[in-house]
C-alpha cells in the first residue's frame, strides 16, 4: 500500500460522508418550518408509511439504534406527533404510533422532497445510478 492511498481524494468514503452532511443541511430550513430535524423527519417518513411499529423495526429500517431513537422518540411524543406504548403481548416492545397531529404534519411535509430535488442537480439517469450504487453498498454491508 503506497502513500497515495491516504490522499483524501482517493478515498470514496469522504465524498460520501461530506455529501450526506451537505444534503442533510439543505433540508434544514425547510424542516425548520415544520419543526423537525432531519432525523426526526426520516422517522416520521417511516411512520407515515407504516402507521405503527416498534423501536427495533424502526431502527433496522433507518440504521439507527435505541441510543439515538429513544430520546428522539420521547421528543416527538412530547410534541404530540406520536405515542409510545409498551405492548401487552410482549412488554419488551415499545410500539410507536401516529397521532392525528402527525397527519396534519404530513400535509405540511408534502412539498419538501420537491424542494430538495431542486437543490440537487442530477439528471434522472444519474440519480437512478447513484441510488442503485448506494443501495448496493448498503446491502453489501448489511451482512
Amino acid at each position: 500500500m503506497k502513500d497515495e492511498a491516504l490522499l483524501l481524494q482517493n478515498q470514496l468514503c469522504f465524498p460520501l460522508y461530506a455529501c450526506a452532511k451537505e444534503i442533510v443541511k439543505q433540508y434544514g430550513p425547510f424542516l425548520k418550518e415544520i419543526g423537525l430535524t432531519y432525523t426526526q423527519y426520516i422517522v416520521m417518513l417511516v411512520l407515515w408509511e407504516q402507521k405503527a411499529m416498534n423501536v427495533k423495526a424502526l431502527g433496522e429500517r433507518l440504521y439507527l439504534d435505541s441510543g439515538t431513537l429513544t430520546p428522539l422518540l420521547k421528543k416527538l411524543e412530547a410534541e404530540g406527533f406520536i405515542t409510545r406504548d409498551r405492548m401487552a403481548k410482549d412488554e419488551r416492545n415499545v410500539q410507536i404510533a401516529l397521532t392525528a397531529k402527525a397527519e396534519t404534519l404530513k400535509k405540511q411535509a408534502l412539498d419538501i422532497p420537491a424542494k430538495i430535488s431542486s437543490c440537487v442537480k442530477l439528471s434522472m439517469q444519474d440519480a437512478a445510478t447513484l441510488y442503485r450504487l448506494l443501495y448496493q453498498i448498503l446491502e453489501g454491508l448489511r451482512t
Copy 2:
C-alpha cells in the same frame, strides 16, 4: 406533489445518509487500533498531505466548521499529534501543524484504505461512477 414522494424509498438522501454512516462505522475497529475517530482521521489525512494549514482552510476542505474542529483539534493536540499556534502575521489565524508523532501514526494508518476497500464491494467502474456523482453533487451545492 403526490404522497409517493414521501416514501423513504423514493428519497435519494436517505441511502446517502445511511451509507455514509455505515461506511464510517466500518472504519471504527481499524481506527480504534490507532486511537483515532473517523473525523480525527480525515483531519489527519488532510494534514498528512498539507503539513500545515489554518482552521478555516481545514474546515473548507472537510466541510466542517470551527464548532466541530476547535475541540477536535485541541484533542489531537493533547494527544501530541498536532500543534496549534496563532500566526504572528495575522493573529486571527490558528495554524495547525504536524508533530513527529504524527508521522509515526501515518505509518500505522497506511493499510486502512485497503481494509475498507475490501469491506465495500464495488467494481472499480462502479466506484468511479459513484465518486464522480458524489463530487458532482458536492460541487453543485458548493455555490
